[in-house]
């Protein structure tokens, strides 16, 4: 092949000539038949019509550079003629490339790869069907997993076999609880400000701005505090669980654990679930306090309510029960977030895209389930009259 060190520069333009004499069709080609010119040559070659000719003579001796893509174009042209019942008695090629062309023709056993074009209506419907089916399988899988983990967890409590790993639990509590304090605190403080401002703005019109505190206190303690904390933690820790466990799975670390005789549920999953179930109520309590402080700051600057007044009003508006109604939800949310995070982590397949996909899915599912459960709690509490 071209021995020059500047192969691109010496590339000449490829050309092809056709001529018909009697029953013979002459195809003469030359120039550089390389991958860089293939896009130009391809449609010209496909458009060739030998008409009523019975023989085709191909003269490729004018080719000065040929690579395997160009070689394929030549061989394909020859084979197309032959497939149409036209003989190709003459196929002249430069000696240098005879071996390459022969091997392309000989090894050509593979029919062209057909990459499915997924644009048809049927394909669209198929995708919807497939997705629906996947959702169903997913739901069954997650329920099965819930049962599996719950059994392990009950076993750990009733028949301890040393499978509660305290160090791992404490480490996870630090990860998911203590390390989350800054972000949860800041966000809830801001949310307190926003809620107080909105409430004050509306209630001022009726001269009832003092009731801002009631609305804020009840709203934050019953709903907003726990819901927002759970959502933040789903994004922060649920995703981390999926990514950590998923990456370990990609590295075959989980398989290694099993061969050593470590129970993956004991070692990886229970510590995470227990840690989150312990940490989330505390985080929620802290989040409630931060939101109320945010509200107090807003009330002071916007409505001129002093801190003692604020506390007094808050005291008449909310009781310990209000706080507990919020807090009781936290361990349930935590359980769901940790379960989903670990479950999706275990589902990771051994490729790079899978970790990202399932991490996203774990957050979406966790947030979805948290909100559904919250709605469920609301119904339950209203039936119970709490």
């Amino acid at each position: 092949m071209g021995n020059s060190d500047s192969a691109i520069e010496i590339d000449t333009r490829p050309w092809l000539d056709v001529e018909q004499r009697g029953r013979t069709f002459y195809l003469t080609v030359g120039g550089s038949w390389t991958v860089r010119h293939a896009a130009i040559l391809d449609p010209q070659l496909r458009a060739l019509e030998a008409g009523h000719a019975s023989d085709v003579e191909i003269d490729a001796s004018g080719i000065d550079r040929l690579d395997s893509t160009g070689g394929w174009l030549l061989v394909r042209t020859k084979m197309t003629f032959e497939a149409a019942g036209i003989r190709v008695p003459v196929f002249k090629t430069p000696e240098l490339y005879t071996a390459l062309l022969a091997s392309i023709e000989r090894e050509h056993i593979t029919p062209p790869v057909s990459i499915e074009e997924r644009v048809t209506l049927a394909a669209f419907l198929e995708r919807i069907g497939r997705a629906t089916h996947n959702v169903a399988i997913q739901a069954v899988g997650i329920i099965g997993y819930l049962g599996h983990v719950t059994l392990e967890w009950l076993e750990a409590i009733y028949a301890p076999r040393g499978n509660l790993r305290v160090t791992a639990i404490v480490h996870q509590i630090e990860e998911v609880g203590i390390n989350a304090l800054p972000i949860v605190g800041l966000l809830m403080f801001l949310i307190g400000i926003v809620l107080a401002y909105q409430g004050a703005d509306q209630l001022k019109r009726f001269d009832l701005e003092i009731l801002t505190i009631n609305a804020l206190g009840i709203g934050v303690l019953r709903e907003i505090g726990v819901l927002f904390t759970a959502i933040i933690i789903a994004g922060r820790s649920g995703s981390a669980f999926t990514a950590q466990i998923g990456t370990m799975k990609v590295n075959e670390e989980l398989d290694a654990m099993q061969t050593i005789g470590l129970n993956v549920v004991d070692v990886l999953i229970l510590p995470r679930i227990i840690a989150l179930v312990i940490a989330l109520p505390f985080l929620t309590f802290y989040a409630d306090i931060m939101a109320l402080i945010g509200g107090a700051v807003m009330c002071y600057f916007d409505l001129g309510i002093t801190i003692p007044e604020y506390i007094r009003q808050l005291h008449t508006a909310v009781g310990v029960n209000t706080l507990l109604v919020g807090l009781i939800k936290a361990p349930v949310f935590a359980y769901v977030i940790a379960m989903v995070g670990c479950y999706e982590g275990m589902n990771v397949e051994r490729n790079a895209a899978s970790v990202g996909k399932l991490t996203t899915r774990s957050v979406v599912e966790a947030v979805f389930l948290v909100i559904v459960l919250d709605a469920g709690f609301s119904v339950l509490f209203s039936v119970l009259g709490i």
Binding site: S6, I8, A38, S68, H108, I115
Partner: protein, 256 residues
Amino acid sequence: MAEAPSEPVIRLRGVVNRVGGRLLHDHVDLDVNRGEILAVVGGSGTGKSVLLRSIVGLMTPSEGSIEVLGRDVMHMSEKELRTLQMRWGVLFQDGALFSSQTVAENIQVPLREYTTMSQRLMNEVAAMKLSMVGLPEDAAQKHPSELSGGMRKRAGLARALALEPELVFLDEPTAGLDPISANLFDELVRGLQKSLNLTVFMVTHDLDTLKATADRVAVLVNRRLKIGTIDELRNDSDPWIQEYFSGPRGRAALAS
């Protein structure tokens, strides 16, 4: 089209590489000639892959000059490097196929990026490359995770050959393959090198590969390269080289 001995395809002069403060290459010189298979060997951690990565522009040495196909790769704009990269292909360890795409799509990535071929022609070219590297036709629609290690390497080689490069870099082409697949891969490399007149720069540990494919061998010892044919190197006095070629594995591989 034989011409007078042309310039080397790869020319390294005084290359110094430090990784994490550790000196790996101390003024390394190397010429790779057109149409030859040069294999780089050396102990683990001596920086064989680092050498490969500096030549293909994935990292920049702290000193020295590297010319590939007559161009200085160290002082080159991003755009010039792109143009030059079209003229070489790299096979990474384990293929480095894009895991979200099928094998056929992997092969078509460079074609789609650098040419204006129709999808139909790209499919045909992908099929041809697959048959060139000896993969069955049903491999085209599979994802890399469904392939064995040997098939992934073949598919990686098919992708590396997509743009008809003059120069191919192979990083540990036979590592992790069973002996039979490794032999087949050696034959494949040798065969493709002949039929496409490739220049091959390969990093390897495998003595059998060395024996079966390499025209010349560059041994990385004491942060320098010692270059020669296998026979020349066997007579070298360096203890590591002696151990490498005359140890039990070396003797077995070279005896046949």
